[in-house]
Structure formats: C-alpha cells, structure tokens
C-alpha cells in the first residue's frame, strides 16, 4: 500500500468564508473512505479541490504521493445526479472521458463496449439515458468515472437520488466493483449506514472552518453483505457517528441564533 491522496496543511476560503484551515487528510491506495458531515460544511468544496476545479490557498494536495499542480483529468468524478448527456447513447456517454483524452472515437467506443457486460449494460449500449432506470444510469456514470481516472474515484452522494431498494442494491454492487477495480474511493454521503457498510474508514467533518476531522475505522470484517448492518461493531459505530453529528449540529445552531 502507498499513499493515493493527501492534503497537507491545506487552507481554503471562498471569498470571506474560510472552509478549510490547516487541514490534513491521507488516503491509502485501494482504500474506501466515506466522508460524512452536516450539509453546507464544505464537502463538495473538498471534492472540487481534489478534482482540481479549485486550488488551495495554502498547503499542498498530493495525488499518488506527488504534489500535482493540475489535477484536472486525473480523477474519476461520479456526481450526485448522473449528468449523462441526453443526446449521447450509453456507449457515447461512457466513452466521453476517453474522447477528451484524445482517443479515437472508434477505439474509445470499442473499449467501452468491452466493459459493458460487466456492468449489465450490454443490451443498452445504443440506448439513450432517458430509456434507462435510475440505477442503470448511475452504473453508466460510474463506468464513465472509471475511464476518467480509475485510481482516485470521487463519489459525490452517488445514490441519494435513488429509491431505497435500488439504493441497497447499488451499495452491494459498488462494494463488488470496488473489489474488482482496486480503485481508491472517496465517497460523500449523508447516510450513516451507507458510509459504514462501504468504507474501511469514515471521516466525520466538523467545524467551520474544518480543521481536524474525526477519523473512525470501521470494525466490520469483509466481505460484507446487507446483513452486516446487524453486527455489534456496525451498530456501535453508527451510534457513535450519530452522536458526533448531533453534537456538531447543536454547536452549529447556537451561533445562528445569536446572529438572529
């Protein structure tokens, strides 16, 4: 194992609002890390910094243990809503990052077609996104993210728009894919169960600005299934995270009242 992603002493502000203050984070190669925290704390900002859409005001961000100035085009980003282009077929959508990297269209499509059976999408290759269910669309979005940057995958609440049953299916599916690809995955979620079920480690973000995140190791053995949710370690961790988030919310609402 080696380091895949690191924030070293990173500070970042949006205008006057400081989001990160001397923030440190380290993710190992092949690790699955869940990020959880109250909404509006700056989780998306964190992702935008990793993807290279934003640059830190201070400190450095390392990818694969080297400080990379231009990180655009190096990570796989799976957005909250699938963001598939309605005018492109499934193959064309998944091939987009390859085309952007300069691969010939024909070759890119060929590479996508080879992968489709593993994603249960072979019968939908030439369909348009509007014809697919929400879960299938997210699988296409995942495949597209892999082609963009399989080594470091950023999953931004990938299942939040899906119904409960599909969501549980997709969580198990994602565990499988994570094993298969060996990718490093960083996932934002609001769902404590989802965070625990999938991750090796959970990072609870708190404070404004975020300084020292709370890191928790998930004590549930792999392989995990839906019934792993009933293990004692799982339940205890869920309780602990819930308590942390509750404290955070109480702390956050107090200054608001003072302002009002």
């Amino acid at each position: 194992m080696g380091e895949q992603l690191a924030f070293a002493d990173v500070s970042f502000s949006y205008g006057d609002k400081q989001i990160l203050d001397h923030f440190d984070l380290r993710v190992e190669k092949g690790e699955f890390v869940s990020l959880i925290g109250p909404s509006g704390i700056g989780k998306s900002t964190l992702f935008q910094l990793i993807a290279g859409l934003l640059e830190p005001g201070q400190g450095e961000i390392r990818l694969g243990s080297v400080a990379v100035a231009n990180r655009l085009g190096q990570v796989g980003y799976m957005p909250q809503r699938d963001q598939l282009m309605p005018w492109r077929t499934i193959v064309e959508n998944a091939a987009l990052p390859l085309e952007i990297k300069g691969m010939k269209k024909k070759e890119a499509h060929e590479r996508v077609r080879q992968q489709l059976p593993r994603y249960g999408l072979q019968d939908w290759a030439d369909s348009y996104p509007a014809q697919l269910s929400g879960g299938m669309r997210q699988r296409v979005s995942f495949l597209r993210a892999l082609f963009s940057g399989a080594e470091m995958m950023l999953l931004d609440e990938p299942f939040s728009a899906l119904d409960g049953i599909t969501r549980m299916d997709m969580q198990e599916w994602l565990m499988e894919k994570w094993q298969e690809t060996g990718s490093t995955m960083l996932m934002i979620t609001h769902d404590i169960d989802e965070a625990i079920l999938l991750a090796d480690r959970i990072i609870v973000l708190s404070g404004s600005p975020i300084t020292k995140p709370i890191e928790l190791t998930v004590p549930v053995s792999r392989p995990r299934t839906a019934s792993s949710r009933n293990q004692a370690g799982f339940l205890a961790l869920r309780e602990q995270i819930w308590e942390l988030l509750r404290q955070e919310r109480q702390a956050a609402t107090k200054p608001l009242r003072r302002e009002a």
Partner: protein, 253 residues
Amino acid sequence: MMGRGIWFGISIAIFLLVWEAVCRFFGVPPFILPPPSAVVVSLWDLRASLVGVHLWATLQEVLLGLSISIVFGISLAFAMIRSRIVERLVYPYIVISQTIPIIALSPVFILWFGYDLSGKIAVTILFTFFPIVVNTYDGLRSTDKEMLQLLKTMGATNGQIFTKLQLPSSLPHFFSGLKVAATYSVAGATIGEWLGASEGLGYFGRRASGNFQAPALFASVLLLSILGMLLFWLVGRIERHFSPHMKTKGEQQ
C-alpha cells in the same frame, strides 16, 4: 400519432363543410367570402401562374433569406459566446431590436436594397435573423453548470467543452428559433412583395385583393400557409435527424 391525424382530418372536413354551407345558404357575396370550392377551382385555373411563377418567386426569397439568416445568425451567436467584447457591444442591440416593429422597418430595407430580389431577401432576413441569433445564443449560454464542471474534471479543453457540451445542448434552442424563423420567413417575403414587386404570392394576393378577386386571393393565401407549414415541418424533420434521442423520449421506462 395516427389517431391525431384522423381527428385533424375530421375537424378540417367539418370546418370546410360549414364554410361551404354558410356561403351557399346565406348567399354571401363571393367577393367577400368565396366558398372553399371556388378557392380550389381558382387555384386549379390559375395553377400555371400561381405555382409556376409566383410560388417559385416567393420560395426563392424565403429560402435565400432564411439561409443567409441562419449563416449570419449562428456566426453572430458564436462570436458573442466566444468574445465578451462582441457580446457587450452587440447584445443590447439584439434586445432592443426585439421591441422594434419590424413591419415598420420593412420599407426602409426596400429603400436600401431595391425593388428586385435583393430587397425581398433583405426584408426576409429582417424577420428571421433575430429569432435565430437570440435562441442560438441563449442555447449556447444555458449550458448546465454541473455538466460543465464534470467535463472540466475530465480535463476537457475549452474547445472540447464547446463541441461536446455547449454545441449539442444548444441544438434544441437553435431549432425552436429556426421554427419561429421558418414561419416568419414567409411573412417577411410576403411583406417584401407587398411593398413593391412584379411577382410572388404576396404581390399576387395584393393585386387580387385590389381587383376584388377573392377566390384568387384566398388561393394565394392558401399556398402561403402551406408553404409556412411545410417549412415548419421540414425544420422539425431536420431537428429529429440531428437529435435522435428525441425520438425515443416516448418510450421511457
């Protein structure tokens, strides 16, 4: 879709029958309102000049005017997207131009471009240019912000963002502008012909109106309407050709 066509056919048939019946039973003078049968007869009698000369003349003006508007409209919209300076300089005029009564401006264009073909083309451009520019520009500008960010994370260059995102996502806007422009183009050419011409359906209709030849006038109006509808339909066909995903929209799961 088939069912809709049948219903439309039925409603048209009823409309024509009622029209015909009103003309016959109430003895409406044919120079005020000719019965549809008289319009059809007139269309048949005058087919050589109506279709052979006047429809052809109007079609030329419409197609040339519309084509020039498309080329320059798209170019201007691209220029405004590409350059902030062009946008700042030109956009206010485009907004203002929307409020100017273009019919009032038409004689000015005839004055400048003359009574021959170029004058009518100029008036047609006057009518069709702005819907194309405004819709294309708005389409190019209305790119989904999240999609844009996603493309950037993939390392897309500005050129790639333009061709792979902005351009295709602006197509529906462009085509809705073109549909408006297609119907306006017939109006533009007609007005151009009213203002001074020796051929064209607008010229023919005005002359028929002056001579109280109502059936001939209605025949020219009918041809102009059909021309407008055909152009509108054609744009729809082209749009579906360029955006095949729209065909499948009805089969969503």
